[in-house]
Symmetry: C2
Subunit: 467 residues, 2 copies
């Protein structure tokens, strides 16, 4: 607590930023109030450029929460909630963002890119290494919250709703956010501990399990009710799609890479191939009634730098390697060369990163903006949200018990708690399908915010105590 206060005092200028922002926005509202409405239809694209810039800057400014040990995604959500609810204070300048079709499209493209990135960063080999422990933690971490969400807390706190809605609550509680979990361990430089590896492995498996649950649940929501046999078919379809995509990818990617490299072996072609793999698999997943993000994740998993060995190195790598040729073969120089080559291999993720910086925050800010704080003025909903949050935390803590001996089970359990972007994707889809109501959506967003917010400080205490 002390360090929080001292950091606040040290970074007091930071407090000026939101004030400046509000002032700037106030001025803008006055200046453009008359203009804005007149020229609304005049140039749709240019107006969208303004919204894009506002959303992106707001998202990045909100990353100051990182200074207080919070993940950036939390800041993006919260700034979105603020921008989206300024209308409650009579400031309706930002309202058009909510319904701008291009912003909505870009945010959908943003989730696809995010899951594609997560897929690129998850290696099939690493998933094998963490082995049985991670698998056990993952399965319990999905089953415990899913069952308690669907059969206990859902029907108990929200009686009289459809089964599909309860299942969506369960699915949301079952989600684990790889991004947030990994980020916390990385921030504390604990990525190489046993606990971190188990949590990361389990979170990756949870992602796949979660995506399958999502496919099942989405199909149920679309088709009304679904029989057990049909669920089986969906599960098989999802597995077949993932396995097929990965197998075909391993077989074809290198050949396609070679063929396309013949046309043009430049960085632009490499980038285009990578991003188009993601887009096409997102489209094909949707064609067989899976969520586009499932396809994007599979595309990311199946791509490997090996498939792009026929392409030229990025300019800096080629230049530095060329330059290193004149050097003596000392051990230090060999080491430097290895570092340079490693950068060449990492290049796929690096190429996608700017697109991620551009599109991913749009999704989180837009999601935050769609949270209606008015429905939270209802004390009952807030209490419900707190109830679900308790179950959400306990459900994941239980999974920590499966981590086995010689491991701090508390750390594993807490590491599984944040729901983050995956939970948000679930409830966004649920709301889109008309299964999750405004109120339930707002309550579940509070659950996601709380689980995401609680993890970093608690984990920090546990990691420090362990040392």
């Amino acid at each position: 607590m002390n360090s929080l206060v001292s950091r606040l005092l040290k970074n007091w200028e930071m407090l000026l930023l939101p004030i400046l922002a509000v002032l700037a926005f106030q001025v803008m509202t006055n200046v453009f109030a008359s203009d804005g409405s007149e020229s609304a239809g005049h140039s749709d694209a240019a107006t969208t450029f303004l919204w894009l810039a506002i959303v992106l800057i707001a998202a990045k400014l909100s990353s100051f929460v990182e200074k207080f040990g919070q993940p950036a995604v939390l800041g993006e959500l919260v700034i979105g909630v603020i921008l989206g609810n300024l209308v409650l204070l009579g400031l309706n300048f930002f309202e058009p963002i909510k319904t701008n079709p291009h912003i909505i499209f870009l945010s959908e493209l943003g989730v696809v890119i995010l899951l594609f990135q997560i897929g690129l960063e998850s290696q099939i080999d690493e998933m094998k290494k963490v082995g049985m422990r991670a698998l056990l933690v993952a399965i319990i971490g999905v089953v415990a919250p899913f069952v308690s969400g669907t059969y206990l807390i859902g029907p108990w706190l929200f009686p009289g709703l459809e089964t599909t809605t309860y299942i969506f609550i369960g699915a949301t509680l079952a989600a684990t956010s790889v991004g947030i979990t990994a980020r916390v361990f990385r921030d504390f430089k604990k990525l190489q501990t046993k606990e971190a590896r188990i949590v990361l492995g389990a979170a990756v498996i949870d992602d796949v399990l979660g995506l399958i649950i999502l496919a099942v649940v989405s199909a149920m929501a679309t088709a009304g009710s679904v029989e057990l046999g049909e669920i089986g078919i969906i599960v098989i379809k999802a597995f077949a799609f993932l396995a097929g995509a990965i197998l075909l990818g391993q077989l074809l990617a290198a050949r396609l890479g070679k063929l396309f490299a013949k046309v043009n072996a430049g960085v632009g072609m490499k980038f285009t191939l990578v991003i188009c793999f993601g887009l096409l698999l997102a489209y094909f997943a949707q064609q067989i009634e899976l969520a586009p993000i499932v396809g994007a994740f599979a595309a990311g998993l199946m791509l490997d730098s090996v498939h792009f060995r026929y392409f030229k190195d990025p300019k800096i790598v080629a230049e530095l390697r060329e330059h290193m040729k004149g050097y003596e073969q000392t051990e230090a120089n060999q080491h430097l060369l290895k570092k340079i080559e490693k950068h060449g291999r990492r290049h796929i993720e690096d190429l996608i990163e700017p697109i991620g910086h551009f599109l991913v925050p749009i999704f989180f800010v837009a999601t935050g903006m769609s949270v209606n704080l008015e429905s939270l003025f209802d004390v009952k909903i807030v209490l419900l949200a707190l109830g679900i949050t308790a179950v959400a935390i306990i459900g994941k803590m239980v999974s920590g018990l499966a981590a086995g001996k010689g491991v701090n089970r508390m750390i594993v359990g807490i590491g599984m708690v944040p729901r983050g972007e995956v939970g948000l994707i679930f409830i966004s889809i649920g709301r889109g399908l008309g299964v999750i109501s405004e109120e339930l959506f707002s309550a579940l967003v509070v659950v996601i915010i709380l689980t995401t917010l609680i993890t970093p400080p608690v984990l920090a205490v546990l990691l420090r105590r362990q040392k």
Copy 2:
């Protein structure tokens, strides 16, 4: 000619690609013919992912024209023309791309990003260095084609049209494409010759002059006719905007950079600031009735790596620099360190590049797709296009005479010929404003394609002869 044939023979597999592509598309049309229409409204976003992937892959495949010394932009245009006119052969699979609102928005964003990139690559200092010669070439290179287009060839070949239309023809002929010109000199490793520097300097000045002409012409088209005094106001407004943006940029960018770096000094923040500068200036340019691309270009000109010195280096630079600390201070190592640091400084352009790879080709392919080949079945229009092309080439060749002594004036003149993306932007805007008809648009696209296509081989011959 011989080398063209031998290269064609050497790369014969390349000829398989378009055939493969057509076959794949044929299969897709059959497979999705029934599905596609049914699920059209089902998920707009996922369908757009498919169109995006098709546009991007088509654009990159078309870059095989580079193997024949042609600029990639030409390939993108031509593949766009092909995709957009397959409907003449009864293949209407790609027709929805033309009217997809998200593709249209992304293509508009693409031009903004392109002009932003050109601005980033143009240094105010370098423009000063090439000095008077480049200025003279630029002015003659704008005035000669503009006057002959507006007052001679326009009224002569297309009698009875509005003055604004003639001015748009003149403006299109006045444009010079920095991108294409620079690319040709770079491909032949002649970027450091006197001729190259004069052409590049003149092309940059032409860009600014062209954008001012565009602002004037757009205002004329919107307001009907414009008095000389009003034109003066527009010119002053354009100059004031450019000068103001650059001055304010120099004053504020470093301060803003410092402030934002306090919140977050990561690469993501740097990227967001850079891209938002571009987007905001595009928006503000539009607010004062200039084209958004004028604002994006100004934003690019005003940004300098110095403004981002408070941000962290990209990961590879930080890592390599850290590693180099343990090295002895030999001259070779110092040189290597300088190369690494240079990479850190170049980083703004590198960050924007993937966004450019993603969005810029969409503009060119979409522009190509909007060319209606049917109107070119009219022999008269083709003859008109050839006539305009002759004037377009002669008008620019004249400007080469101003390059002064000790310089190959033919090279300078030919270097100014390609109209490329700038010309396309002009006629796109003209058509959007209803000033340029379908037929004139198609004819001017032929002019742009021809001037763009003629330059690389002719320049190649001249450069080889000079040696």
